[in-house]
């Protein structure tokens, strides 16, 4: 007879324990299988992980840049960038040879070395390829080459506003101008592919049409007067918004290397110049606002001024005492000097500082070169500064300061952002009456038969302005025959909305200018053509 099998029913405690252990083991295994099934079902297999050997190069998606009316100035477009994995390249020599045919600008020897280096898994060949070029590379069918899609900056308007917009580098990061400000103040998004930017467009104060008008007129003036360069700016005197700003020769933002060419530097912000008689606006504003003189106060300007071993004379001597009104219209250096002497150097310096011309300034497009002030501010300096010599500053800084004299006397902060409201704006700098008197003087200088700005008249747009012709300083001395001809204008008088500054660098005498190079015969008519063109775009109605 067989003995009964040990089990729970047998009452054998050892057998019962083994049974329970077996059941527990089975249940455990069962739970493991079930758990794994659930994990796989819910989570799924592990996805691809980034290997240390994979390229980690990042690029950046940038917001679009549009003008004040929403017209596109800069955008990101998807472009193919070509890279190689040298470990997969079968014949580095042949690959380098074939690639060099498509990219003749690449160093073939360097490319061959890079492709033959099997210790590397990633080598950039060329970034930002045009679709046709990418297709040619693709058609080679070379193993080990691959493309990555990246955002690349495109500027549909070409070189328009190039100095203001600035540049980006190969990783699509801003390196100059508004592009750099976007990196610092707005922010860019780091992307691995060609992701579209999620940030809204950056709206600038520039007006595309006005900007084109400015650049076209400056370009025409450079040709007409054979000047080496030209710069111009249009600013809304009430808000400080810069509607257009240009420096020629221009810079194409899609070719950043152009910005390094010496003759293309931004004359509006990077160069500092003695701007000549347009500075008399500041001197007369100082005198009128302090109450030291009125428009009809008479000064004896017949005798030259002598100070610091220099003699200051008038370019257009009238041979009689002049009122302040006439000092402005005849651009009397002696008259401006007398007004400054009467005020004193301390008040002159304080007024220049109050207008923001003594310290460094900047805009969203970058810092502006700091003004060069005299180390010793004696009487000679007081006189020369009164008529725009002895201190040098960037045209943008001068224009921003001057705009405050024509908006009722309120402080503004120059800006390239549309709708920007800076807290420093709005403070009263000069009396409203002074501002009105200055607008009157500007208009009179254009309408008066002997006014230096009469060639700036544009029928219906009530232009007012002041000429300024100054020798160009270089290496501690003045360049022989080289001048900067500038015209500062406001329109429409008597309550100006816009201020323009046009500067021509080293203009030549032509038959049209009857052998002269002064601002009245070149910068003033250029301003007239400019205003005739842009005023309708700025909704300035004809009078």
């Amino acid at each position: 007879m067989r003995a009964p099998a040990p089990g729970p029913e047998t009452g054998n405690p050892g057998g019962r324990l083994r049974w329970l252990a077996l059941a527990a083991a089975l249940a455990g295994a069962f739970a493991l299988v079930g758990g794994q099934l659930m994990r796989l079902a819910l989570i799924g297999p592990a996805g691809p992980r980034l290997s240390i050997n994979e390229p980690l190069t990042r690029t950046f998606a940038r917001p679009d840049i549009v003008d004040r009316h929403g017209r596109l100035l800069a955008t990101d477009l998807e472009a193919h960038s070509l890279f190689a994995d040298p470990t997969l390249i079968q014949d580095a020599d042949e690959a380098a040879e074939q690639l060099a045919e498509i990219f003749p600008e690449l160093d073939a020897a360097e490319l061959r070395r890079a492709l033959a280096d099997r210790s590397r898994r990633f080598v950039w060949i060329r970034r930002g390829l045009a679709p046709a070029v990418a297709q040619r590379v693709h058609d080679l069918g070379l193993v080990g080459l691959a493309f990555r899609k990246e955002p690349r900056r495109a500027y549909p308007q070409g070189a328009l506003a190039g100095h203001v917009l600035g540049t980006v580098n190969v990783d699509n990061r801003g390196t100059a101008g508004i592009e750099r400000w976007i990196d610092e103040a707005v922010g860019v998004e780091s992307v691995l592919g060609s992701g579209a930017p999620r940030k809204p467009p950056v709206r600038l104060s520039l007006d595309l049409g006005v900007q084109h008008g400015l650049e076209a007129e400056l370009g025409a003036a450079m040709e007409r007067y054979q000047s080496s360069g030209a710069a111009g700016l249009i600013i809304d005197v009430a808000s400080g918004e810069i509607v257009a700003a240009a420096s020629l020769p221009a810079v194409d933002p899609s070719r950043p290397v152009q910005a390094l060419e010496a003759h293309r530097f931004d004359r509006m912000t990077t160069g500092t110049y003695e701007l000549g008689s347009i500075f008399k606006v500041v001197t007369i504003a100082m005198a009128l606002d302090a109450g030291q003189a009125g428009l009809d106060t008479v000064y004896d300007v017949r005798a030259p001024l002598r100070a610091g071993g220099h003699t200051m004379r008038d370019l257009h001597p009238q041979g009689r005492p002049l009122t302040v009104r006439e000092i402005f219209v005849h651009s009397s250096n002696i008259g401006a000097g007398l007004l400054a002497i009467e005020a004193g150097s301390a008040k002159q310096r304080a007024f220049i500082t109050k207008l923001g011309m003594a310290g460094q300034m900047g805009t969203e497009a970058g810092p502006v070169s700091p003004p060069r002030l005299p180390a010793r501010w004696g009487q000679a300096e007081t006189i020369t500064i009164a008529y725009g010599h002895g201190m040098a500053l960037a045209p943008l800084q001068f224009a921003a300061a001057a705009a405050q004299l024509f908006n009722g006397g309120r402080a503004i902060v120059p800006t390239f952002r549309a709708g920007a409201a800076y807290p420093a704006s709005g403070a009263r700098l000069i009396a409203e009456r002074t501002s009105a008197d200055l607008s009157h003087l500007m208009r009179r200088n254009v309408t008066h038969p002997s006014g230096t700005g009469r060639q700036a008249e544009v029928a219906g747009f009530e232009v007012g302005g002041k000429t300024g012709t100054a020798d160009i300083a270089a290496g501690g001395a003045y360049k022989d025959g080289g001048v900067i001809s500038s015209f500062l204008a406001v329109f429409p008088a008597p309550a100006p909305r816009y201020l323009t500054l046009v500067s021509l660098f080293e203009p030549n005498a032509t038959a049209e200018t009857r052998g002269k190079v002064t601002a009245g015969v070149n910068a003033a008519p250029t301003t007239a053509r400019l205003i005739a063109r842009i005023a309708p775009l700025l909704d300035v109605a004809t009078q």
Binding site: F30, G34, L37, M38, L40, A41, L42, G44, R71, L72, L73, T75, D76, L77, E78, A154, P156, Q157, G158, L160, S194, G195, A196, L208, G209, H212, G213, A216, A459, G460, A532, R533, I534, A535, P536, L537, T542, Q543
Partner: protein
């Protein structure tokens, strides 16, 4: 009894696992479709960006201006327009304009 219970539990577990797998499979299909839609949207956005850039390039002022001037157009100047009130009405000269 225990064996039946165990078998039932096993079947329930397996059934649940398969049900979960089916749901997960559907989810992955949906994810794949979403991914494809996202890629299509990305491509469309890229195309839109290219079209916008091309449109801006074609509408750039230095291209439009010569075309406009060839049609006899130019900036508005004094005399280009007139006040509505100055327009002659059929019954004579208007004296006011009502809105």
């Amino acid at each position: 009894m225990r064996l039946m219970l165990s078998t039932a539990m096993l079947l329930v577990t397996l059934g649940s696992a398969f049900a979960l797998y089916a749901i997960n499979y559907d989810t992955r299909q949906l994810e794949q479709r979403v991914l494809m839609q996202e890629r299509a949207a990305e491509r469309a956005l890229g195309d839109i960006a290219v079209l916008r850039a091309e449109r801006a390039h074609l509408a750039r002022p230095d291209r439009i201006e010569p075309l406009a001037r060839s049609l006899g157009m130019g900036p508005a100047a004094r005399g280009s327009g007139m006040r509505l009130i100055d327009l002659a009405s059929p019954e004579g000269t208007a004296t006011e304009v009502r809105k």
